[in-house]
């Protein structure tokens, strides 16, 4: 505690060193944003917790409290939600390692001395991340559409049969996976770039003097030093993948059938197409819990690293 010369507590003591009027001023400046944040983020978030215990219906804008019925119905093994959740887990487990490998590979490529035009390559790989998800979905649909897509048009001109990229369930899932990787790999590449450039040159030189080849240097030096960034990339990619909605919605509309319908789309569909806001809120709460566990895990791992 700060004390003044006479031994009395300072007038700044309780305000963390800032005069009260300045503190008030700070709060006043924060107030507009805080209000907007509370009205448009906090209130809807809290309401969705409440709605998850109701059968609120967006057609009549009414609903009654039904306890945990929504959660019970959603967690039935045969429910559409559980199927979408499992599909999302498979999608996440497929996408995250591939994103990790690709972004690390791109990062090594764009920081290595063996490639020319590195700034151009970095911009090229980062560019998909800057595009709007809807544009990505529409563009890839133009490429992969069965009847009018660019790739199938070329194949047919060459006398080949068209490939049902978005109509066959497995191919649609693979297409969605690849487009997701194409979209986010550049973003994580930048994270790895930042981490790679902080490794001092002396470390590489010392390893080279000890006779370590490139492979050994990568596995024994670079990879362990990248661990905090790797953890961050894995956790962020997992959260991002589990919440993925826009690209898939525009690209395949969750089809064929429900082959690429992930949890986020299921929530959207239930809320805005079926207009069952109560049920959709319960789905959101479950997804929120899963994501919060993942985030806590991230903090814990990063804390241990420190």
């Amino acid at each position: 505690m700060r004390v003044c010369r006479e031994g009395k507590p300072s007038r700044f003591a309780k305000t963390g060193g800032m005069p009260l009027n300045k503190q008030l001023m700070a709060w006043l400046f924060l107030l507009p944003n805080l209000l907007i944040f509370c009205i448009f983020i906090v209130t809807p978030a809290l309401s969705s917790f409440y709605f998850s215990f109701t059968d609120y219906d967006m057609l009549t804008f009414s609903g009654k409290f039904i306890g945990v019925t929504n959660f019970k119905n959603l967690l039935q093994p045969s429910s559409d939600f559980v199927r979408a959740l499992l599909r999302t887990l498979i999608y996440t487990v497929t996408v995250v390692p591939l994103v990790f490998i690709c972004s690390l590979g791109l990062s090594i490529m764009t920081t290595s001395d063996f490639f020319y035009g590195k700034p151009f390559l970095r911009a090229l790989f980062y560019w998909p991340w800057l595009l709007s998800p809807s544009i990505i979905g529409i563009s890839w649909k133009w490429f992969l559409d069965y009847d009018a897509g660019l790739i199938n048009t070329v194949l047919m001109k060459l006398g080949q049969n068209p490939v049902p990229w978005l109509i066959d369930k497995r191919l649609a899932f693979i297409s969605v996976t690849l487009v997701t990787i194409w979209n986010v790999a550049g973003y994580f590449m930048v994270m790895f770039n930042a981490a790679l450039t902080t490794i001092p040159n002396e470390v590489y030189e010392a390893a080279a003097l000890d006779g370590a080849n490139r492979w050994v240097r990568f596995w024994k030096i670079i990879f362990p030093l990248l661990k905090p960034t790797s953890v961050l990339v894995v956790v962020l990619a997992t959260i991002m993948t589990m919440r993925n909605f826009e690209i898939i919605y525009v690209f395949t509309a969750g089809g064929p059938g429900t082959a690429t319908t992930m949890v986020a789309q299921r929530i959207y569909h239930t809320a805005f197409m079926e207009r069952r806001l109560g049920l959709a809120s319960a789905m959101s709460v479950i997804l929120f819990c899963i994501l919060i566990v993942l985030s806590l895990l991230q903090f814990k791992i990063l804390e241990e690293e420190k």
């Binding site: 907007i36 448009f40 219906d57 967006m58 057609l59 804008f61 559409d145 069965y146 009847d147 009018a148 049902p164 978005l166 109509i167 369930k169 649609a172 395949t252 509309a253 089809g255 064929p256 059938g257 429900t258 082959a259 569909h269 805005f272 197409m273 079926e274 207009r275």
Partner: protein, 413 residues
């Protein structure tokens, strides 16, 4: 957040500035015609009208519902249904004579001519919700050039049976005249027409029980799935949401199941010789009708709605867009000058006059039964999609759907 605030500010400004707010969705090239009629209203009545033109699908209905629920609906809105607005709309009964000079009963009979369900809703609710605006009918358009190439001539005086239709589709595919024989709009409403010609329905025609799992309904879905399996219909429309019209417009599909609201657009866009065939049938002939309403929420809105639906304006609107005006006294007053459209219009009207409507009223308009269907449109779509995608057999898809709808019906009681 900023966008939301800006939108709210714009809406607030609009409501403050306008005498009458008309919420509209564009369906074909109708916006300019409506605007000119609104301008006429402003001139004669001296009232300022602001038109909120919004995209219909996904955004329109929830926005209107939110505004109505919050107690600040527009004065009048264009809509496809009246049931969701029964609680919020103004009762037109006391206003009809004041603004039209017609006796109420005379007016009701006149405007219910093509929409018998409208009168039924009035009789059940005791309140006049909205005004029938334009009606349309489901239609099957065909590319005459592809048909000629495949050596097919559809009968002019009668419809095909389902078996004849299927044989024609196979012939188109086998002849290589088009990549697909048919493209079918992605809509449970459009699919219902197939249900009805097979003798099925979501409800039975009297609205007593759910019949979506009846052998006839299942047979209709089996037929629909078979058309997809044999590549007679492009799978991408029902499986991944591709736009159906492009297949017909580009000459990739020989026939298109849609409705006469497409006539104005097709007249401008199609570069080939085209026409319409009557609805094929299995057990009964059926053609579905639908259309638009204008729903006033305030007396100012009612005044504008009745102005837009007066004889002169409705005849102009329907004639230019090739729609059926929802007034019996206009049935012979709509003049269509285009010979192609005239020929198609004649086929559709003949089909309409000779056919029944299946379970149309029970499924989509009767307040006692249609609410279950309207509320669960996307569940019905999902069931059809699941069968087309082979996630379920047609029988399993419709049995699960029937179970769900029966539970919903029981809950609503």
């Amino acid at each position: 957040m900023k966008k939301v605030l800006v939108a709210l500010l714009v809406l607030a400004t609009v409501f403050v500035m306008a005498d009458v707010v008309l919420m509209w969705f564009t369906d074909g090239p109708d916006f300019d015609i409506m605007q000119s009629q609104v301008a006429k209203f402003e001139k004669t009545e001296g009232e300022k009208v602001v038109v909120l033109n919004l995209p219909y699908y996904l955004e329109y209905k929830p926005k209107l519902a939110a505004m109505a629920k919050a107690g600040s609906p527009p004065d009048v809105a264009r809509e496809t249904d009246i049931l969701p607005w029964a609680e919020y709309a103004i009762d037109l009964k006391p206003l009809v004579e004041k603004y039209t000079g017609m006796k109420f009963e005379e007016w009701l009979d006149n405007v219910s001519f093509y929409k018998p369900a409208f009168k039924k809703v009035y009789e059940k609710l005791g309140k006049v919700v909205g005004i029938p605006y334009t009606s349309d009918a489901h239609a099957i358009f065909y590319n005459k050039e592809i048909f000629k190439k495949a050596g097919i001539e559809p009968p002019k005086d009668r419809p095909w049976t389902i078996d004849e239709w299927y044989a024609a589709m196979k012939k188109i595919k086998q002849s290589g005249a088009a990549r697909y024989a048919l493209v079918y709009d992605f809509s449970p409403y459009r699919f219902s027409n197939l249900l009805y010609v097979f003798g099925g329905g979501i409800w039975d025609p009297n609205g007593k029980q759910i019949t979506i799992d009846s052998p006839e309904s299942i047979e209709a879905l089996e037929f629909f799935v078979k058309l997809h399996d044999e590549d007679l219909i492009p799978k991408a429309v029902w499986l991944t949401g591709d736009a159906p019209a492009k297949y017909f417009q580009n000459g990739m599909a020989a026939m298109y199941v849609s409705g006469i609201w497409m006539l104005a657009q097709f007249r401008e866009q199609l570069k080939f010789d085209w026409g319409a065939i009557m609805w094929p049938y299995k057990r009964q002939r059926a053609v579905m009708t639908g259309g638009k309403y204008i729903v006033p929420f305030t007396e100012k809105g009612a005044k504008l709605a009745l102005f837009l639906t007066n004889q002169e304006n409705l005849a102009e609107f329907s004639g230019k867009l090739f729609l059926i005006p929802d007034r019996k006294d206009l049935s012979d007053k709509v003049v269509i000058e285009d010979p192609v459209i005239n020929e198609i219009y004649a086929v559709v009207m003949k089909d309409l006059n000779e056919s029944g409507r299946g379970s149309l009223v029970a499924d989509w308009y009767d307040p006692d039964t249609a609410t279950i269907v309207q509320k669960n449109r996307s569940v019905i779509t999902d069931a059809i999609k699941a069968a087309v995608a082979k996630e379920k057999t047609p029988a399993q898809a419709f049995r699960d759907l029937a179970k769900f709808l029966r539970e919903e019906a029981a809950k609503s009681k």
